[in-house]
Symmetry: C2
DNA sequence: GCATTCGAATAACATGGCATTATTCGATGG
DNA sequence: CCATCGAATAATGCCATGTTATTCGAATGC
């Protein structure tokens, strides 16, 4: 019926007292205001102003309407702010599900930075296996999944977010730290921490040993790179971890060396095709990629 | 920034699920809805729907915005209702100031009818002399004044609202009731109730006696026609009252006769030129006129 | 008393938002 | 494979809202 613009003009004229003044405030021409007022009066069938001595005097009705319109403006501003917030990702909710390797490794750092300009963003982080990631995504309970291994599932889309590789982590001063590059098969000669053969990381490492016709030997088996990293940092032995796990952290107690052969790992973002991806999730993907790009690569 | 219309379309599409359906609900064409959605997405830079299997799936952001928009719609409806109410005069406040003759006579009947379709209208009725009416109007405390005598005052406008005349009221069976018409000067011959010479009504009646070269004689002097009417109805004597005082009332105990000469009286509506007249006051004037027109004239 | 000034109204015209109809494209289902 | 349904696109129209230029009326000041 009555437009927000009309109310805006009405209020401006009432506040300022003249059409010319209101026009200036609203950054439009004086006739625009004049026409709008007349049009409004015709439309609603009420006298809003009386022309007296060349001035406009608001009627009681006009004052009443203007008063009520304030509440409308409040709501309008509120909606606009919310839209801006959603667009900028400063409000809303981001539900992440990630593998523990990522969740204990790089994710906390990324999230810390991501949340800095978005204090009002609701955050949810779940850790789980690839199967659990798939389950949460297809059921719509999570907006985005983060995984090294790329789940194959109809209804899920994966995109590479960051390229990295496995690196060898050894206590500072360890014999393997003397060379610039660590041969994967050489790990058999030292006390080293590795991954179960049925895990994706274990299979990747195993492939190298199989290629070389050697059996992998390790004294300790863990599930997650973060665990392996902490054990290595504690001087327990040598470990292979993904480069993301050590990204951007200064750790004087450990040395980091690339491996031979190179074992590339990729962090994948996984989203559901069954539900629209939240804008904030898309932004988070971008942010994640840029964060990894910008972070100091492992020495 | 974002228009109410756009939000309306957004909500419709989300609720109905298809652009075609939303178009039907909104009574517009399907392309109109389609274009609006696209335009909105361009404008705010957010994906609101994902096109999937030929259908529209709202994004979480779209759902969030739609939710907030509901409050805006509430306010919009509220403002519209208020405007309608002001236009129809069902809300607002009507401040009336009237002379006692009117205030005790016809006004209550008129107001009773006027208020029936306007149960939420605030009403204020003050009674006072013509001077007091003037004072209240020029000070802006009353919206409209009702008076038989027409106040002369710069800043006040008067308009005739109802034409009537003085009528003679006598107890049923009174000798004057025998004739179809009562000569004013004949009142001197019966016990009659009249008005002080300094009052407008008194002067009007006096003028007839002066014209005839007769001195007015009466046994009782009152100020208001309503008092005179009640006294006459009680059988105390004969009185001249304005025709409005007996308008629309069946009173078997009294007889009403026109006078000779005719003594016309007019109810005037008085409004201030210093303030805009409230729409409700204008409507009341119209209503008053029509009420008097439509009411059964005194027999 | 007359010119100036200020504000409102009007005229004539431009533009963009939002609508229309007609048509095409893509997916789904018998 | 075709019929159907829904969305998108194209071509177009109208009206709300804006513009500039001008006029009109009232108040003001010399």
């Amino acid at each position: 019926m009555i437009s927000a613009r009309q109310l805006e003009v009405l209020c401006a004229v009432i506040e300022v007292g003249t059409t010319s003044g209101a026009a200036e405030v609203l950054s439009v021409s004086q006739p625009a205001v004049s026409n709008m007022i007349r049009h409004m009066e015709d439309q609603i069938g009420l006298s809003l102003f009386v022309r007296e001595r060349g001035r406009l005097e608001p009627t009681p009705e006009a004052l009443h309407i203007a008063q009520e319109a304030q509440h409308l403006f409040m709501q309008q501003k509120r909606v606009d702010k919310i839209i801006m917030g959603l667009k900028g990702g400063t409000i809303g909710r981001l539900n992440i599900v990630a593998t523990p390797s990522i969740g204990y490794g790089i994710l906390p750092q990324v999230l810390a930075e991501f949340m800095k300009p978005r204090p009002r963003l609701q955050l949810s982080v779940e850790l789980g296996s690839v199967d659990e990631i798939v389950e949460r995504l297809v059921s719509g309970r999570s907006d985005i999944g983060l995984s090294i291994t790329r789940p194959r599932h109809t209804g899920l889309s994966t995109r590479p977010m960051a390229e990295g590789q496995m690196v060898c982590v050894c206590p500072a001063g360890h014999e393997l730290a003397l060379s610039q590059q660590v041969r994967v098969v050489d790990l058999n000669h030292v006390q080293h921490i590795s991954y179960a053969a049925h895990t994706p990381l274990g299979q990747m490492v195993d492939a190298v040993f199989v290629e070389a016709g050697i059996e992998r030997r390790f004294f300790c088996e863990v599930r997650h790179t973060s665990t392996a990293l902490e054990m290595a940092a504690s001087g327990l032995g040598v470990a292979l971890v993904d480069s993301f796990a050590v990204l951007g952290r200064h750790r004087p107690e450990i040395a980091i060396r690339p491996t031979h052969p190179r074992l590339p790992v990729t962090v994948h973002a996984v989203t559901s095709n069954l539900f629209p991806t939240a804008n904030i999730a898309i932004r988070f993907q971008q942010f994640f990629s840029e964060f990894v790009q910008g972070a100091t690569p492992p020495a």
